[in-house]
């Protein structure tokens, strides 16, 4: 077992290093903030540069002036929030029954004249071949681990689209997704095209299509919420402002220069949230930006991911929205107002998301109970239980 007394010294060392790096980071932050409010900066030029440069880092697409800060509109009297979250029990390769479980928490909160709440959790056990592998007929990809995570995100979105269809047409409403609208999991690994098609085009994007259809004739918007974001898209756009070349090409111009010595490293180590913690007042949103990640460019189409940052009492949150929300002033205003209101009702975190998480969560004890239940029911039916020696050894510990 982990011996904490042996780690304590290493933790102390880590804290020391963080403290030493703090001074340099403050200088970089000051530089970045100066750039954010620099009126002499040619915004249109920077916007083009951000769109056309070849960089080794992800640069935000620019939409509104960098120093933009917008107050929220008032929340409508009556409105609804829907949210989903999910968790899973992964395939256990030490067990004989091959299966996984996805538990989706679904929340609908109606506010105003007729306040109402709907909280539910819907577990689904998947043991069919159709669920366990994604196949194109000749090749197949096993659904487990990271891929199961992505499948769960798709399921969360499916449930959200289902709930959106049941909302009142005239009632202002916001659908909230936990985390990013960008399925980073699919982008980070080289998955075969048929997997991307199944999960993204026929899955996630199709749900967004369904919600867009609904949104056309009613005050409905969709957004995802990221607490304590670690993204640097906007800071990376500032790197381009520091880059001495007309169009940046990191590999070509700076490929041989050590990291830390490049001209743009004057803002290194700063995160977007550091910028907006200084630029925004409580409840304000930042300028709009667009994501230029490859997966968005290639797959998201009319749902191209835009985002803004929002200042709350204790933190900066990142709110991601599809293009059709970003380009509709009423939907954008509604998203900002309702997201802020949710955070205020939820002690700093959207109340609906917190409840969705509570509905979805699968605790360690429940995980064990689930495995036991599978074993008991299989034994009842006299099915041979072949479990691995490793699994038995973990359950029965001896000296």
């Amino acid at each position: 077992m982990l011996d904490l007394s042996r780690v304590a010294g290493q933790i102390e060392e880590m804290v020391g290093q963080l403290k030493a790096g703090g001074q340099e980071r403050q200088e970089h932050l000051a530089r970045a903030l100066t750039l954010m409010v620099d009126r002499t900066l040619d915004f249109e030029k920077l916007k083009r540069k951000a769109a056309q440069s070849k960089t080794t880092f992800l640069v935000a697409g620019l939409v509104e002036l960098l120093a933009t800060h917008t107050q929220s509109i008032d929340t409508p009297t009556d409105f609804s929030i829907i949210a989903t979250d999910g968790s899973q029990i992964d395939v256990d390769r030490h067990q004989s029954a091959r299966c996984y479980l996805i538990n989706i928490g679904r929340i609908r909160l109606d506010y105003g004249q007729n306040p109402r709440a709907m909280l539910e959790s819907l577990p689904k056990l998947c043991a069919n071949d159709n669920d366990l592998v994604i196949s194109n007929g000749t090749k197949e990809q096993v659904v487990e681990g990271a891929l199961l995570n992505i499948k769960r995100s798709v399921d969360e979105c499916k449930h959200l689209a289902e709930m959106a269809a049941e909302l009142l047409i005239s009632q202002p409403s916001l659908a909230v997704i936990d985390g990013s609208l960008i399925l980073w999991g699919l982008a980070s690994k080289e998955y075969p095209d048929f997997v991307v098609e199944e999960l993204l085009d026929k899955g996630f994007i199709k749900c967004l299509d369904d919600m867009l259809k609904l949104a056309k004739d009613r005050p409905f918007a969709l957004a995802s919420y990221i607490s304590f974001p670690r993204s640097t898209d906007v800071v990376n756009a500032l790197r381009l402002a520091l880059c001495p070349h007309d169009l940046a090409d990191c590999d070509k111009y700076c490929g041989e220069i050590n990291i830390g010595k490049r001209p743009c490293d004057a803002v290194a180590g700063v995160q977007d949230r550091d910028l907006f913690a200084n630029l925004l007042a409580d409840g304000e949103r930042s300028a709009l930006f667009t994501s230029q990640s490859k997966i968005v460019k290639e797959n998201y189409g009319k749902h191209w991911v835009n985002f803004f940052y929002m200042k709350l009492e204790d933190e900066i949150a990142r709110v991601e929205i599809p293009e059709w929300v970003a380009q509709d002033a009423a939907k954008l205003g509604l998203t900002h107002a309702l997201m802020l209101d949710q955070c205020r009702r939820g002690q700093g975190y959207p109340a609906a998301l917190a409840e969705a998480h509570e509905q979805a969560v699968v605790t360690g004890a429940v995980r064990q109970n689930f495995q036991q239940l599978v074993e008991i029911l299989m034994t009842d039916e006299h099915m041979l239980q072949a479990t691995s020696a490793k699994s038995r050894s973990k359950k029965t510990r001896w000296v």
Binding site: I107, L109, P115, R116, A117, E355, E358
Partner: protein, 198 residues
């Protein structure tokens, strides 16, 4: 007057001597000392409510104060409509008798109730019929509960007495029965009698 008895909740914990039931609606609890009933097969079980609680649905989630900026308690629930679903009210009842066929028996039934059995409030007629005899007082006197027995006995008798045309005669009768049962414990007898004075 209602002709059908009201369904109060559903049993979630049970033993030979009593049960705990969860209410379907938050705070819709039967009063302390009221007579309730449930069934086990053909037998109807009678019990008196001795304890009620309202707390978070999940043991790990404690309610927090939310009303600092709200005008009323109702406004708290309007601003967070999910609250009513995250809290639950429960009541516990002590079994004081049962009905087998037409016979009311003021002693413990052979088997306890079952989990998920419904609990109903007793109708005035049933309460009156049940309190024709005073055998249930012995069970109340001897029960070891969180609620002090003098408080519970007094609450039961106050409610039952309102079902009798001559409530004074009912209280005098039960008072005599208690005097016999609590002969060794004058302080408790005095406490009960003070609490049922008309």
């Amino acid at each position: 007057m209602k002709t059908q008895s009201e369904r109060l909740g559903e049993i979630i914990e049970v033993s030979t001597t009593g049960f705990t039931a969860q209410c379907y609606e938050l705070y819709e609890l039967p009063p302390l000392g009221s007579l309730v009933k449930t069934t086990e097969g053909d037998i109807e079980l009678y019990a008196v409510v001795y304890q009620a609680t309202t707390e978070g649905l999940e043991p790990g989630r404690k309610p927090i104060a939310r009303g600092k900026d709200e005008a009323s308690e109702e406004a708290i629930f309007q601003s967070s409509p999910q609250l009513a679903k995250l809290l639950r009210s429960e009541f516990s009842a002590l079994v004081v008798g049962h009905k087998d066929g037409d016979k009311i028996l003021q002693y413990l039934p052979p088997r306890p109730a079952r989990i998920h059995s419904f609990v109903h409030a007793c109708m005035p007629g049933e309460i009156k019929a049940f309190s024709q005899a005073f055998g249930f007082l012995n069970i109340l006197v001897n029960a070891e509960l969180e609620t002090p027995s003098d408080e519970l006995i007094a609450a039961v008798l106050r409610l039952m007495s309102t079902m009798h045309e001559d409530s004074r005669a009912f209280l005098v009768g039960t008072g005599k029965e208690l005097a016999a049962l609590l002969g060794q414990d004058y302080a408790k007898l005095k406490a009960v009698l003070e609490r049922i004075k008309p």
